[in-house]
Symmetry: C2
Subunit: 220 residues, 2 copies
């Protein structure tokens, strides 16, 4: 990785146009060719960037980065304060835990958090437009599709509505009820769910995890 500290101006022309006036910034050029320009605020997002694959041409006082889509990032270097390169061998990647997937599995094992007398049928039940997170059968025999989100928003309601529409095409399943399950359901999502004839439920992730741990302990 090459790290340059420089006073520079930047322009980007591509999906939008953006210009960055003169200032001291950090330029990163990574092993895969990615270029990022960071200011001294904001941990996450670069001011400007160009992802790989791209083509970097280094002229005196100017870098020009282009890609196949016709996007162009131009960096005018007014003063280079530091320029160093470091070898970084590939290292094992990040290991994550605790997102939507875990919530889905917890709910599959504990349907009571969604509603009474539900029998788990399948995870990732396939439809032509993508898999439904969870499918249950109610005490009355009616099917229930559940869309799981960490945060339930309008998108999640639309997604669930599309799945229900697909599932209702299958005479063996029809009519299918739908519930959006999330640690939090936004007010707008609640309104839209009601409008679409869908249900929603807020579930407590920590509590589910605790119950699961207890159950595991008991089963030992």
């Amino acid at each position: 990785m090459r790290v340059v500290i420089a006073r520079c101006r930047v322009t980007y022309a591509g999906r939008l146009s953006a210009t960055l006036p003169s200032g001291v910034r950090l330029l990163m050029v990574k092993a895969d060719g990615c270029v990022a320009i960071h200011a001294d605020v904001g941990a996450y997002k670069p001011l400007n960037w160009m992802t790989a694959p791209n083509h970097l041409v280094e002229e005196p006082g100017r870098w020009v980065v282009t890609n196949a889509k016709g996007e162009c990032l131009t960096i005018d270097l007014e003063e280079v304060l530091s320029d160093q390169a470091h070898a970084m061998e590939d290292s094992a990647g990040l290991v994550k835990d605790g997102v939507e997937l875990a919530l889905r599995d917890l709910l599959a094992a504990a349907p009571d958090a969604i509603g009474p007398d539900l029998e788990f049928v399948q995870r990732e039940y396939p439809t032509p437009i993508g898999p439904v997170d969870l499918l249950f059968r109610g005490a009355d025999g009616q099917m229930l599709a559940v869309e799981v989100k960490r945060k339930g928003e309008i998108d999640g309601v639309e997604q669930l509505a599309r799945y229900i529409e697909q599932l209702d095409h299958d005479p063996r399943l029809r009519p299918v009820r739908g519930i959006l399950a999330a640690t939090r359901v936004a007010p707008q999502a609640q309104v839209l769910a009601a409008e679409r004839g869908l249900g929603w439920v807020e579930v407590d992730y920590e509590q589910l995890k605790g119950e699961r741990a207890e159950l595991t302990l008991f089963e030992l």
Copy 2:
């Protein structure tokens, strides 16, 4: 901004749990306290990070970053290869052009680009599920809701349909027509719009901007 190149291990506990095994990486500590850990691939996203405001405690061989939400980022430094700091005065920010907001404002001022004899009523007209970009009144008195997108795709049509559904609940507005306005409307979006009884229009951003400039000049 402080830039450290080091062999390190990282753990994050907060919105999820994540661990990062030993490897050489770039650590950025910005003036606002933000911390980011970058690998040698991917221009954009750090492997781990902590946004401001936070609290960084530097012990020998270990940094611990915590914030008010109880998130915690721990960096175990195994070997520091470089450690430098650079002053970066605040500089003027990024200037963007060509986005949805500008397009919306141009259309509010130039309804003719959407259709004949439209009277501008309101920007961001509120509904229970979010604001409609633009609301106009036609010559016949009928209301017209316009959803503005840079690129008109299926989700833009869906969004517009949801708004119309809400607006039609209001007897003072009903019946409301809907149009998707974008610099380009995808064929699938055109089909879906027709299906939903909605209109669509492709508008020329550069031309609108030009007209606006002319108008401003004229008004001088």
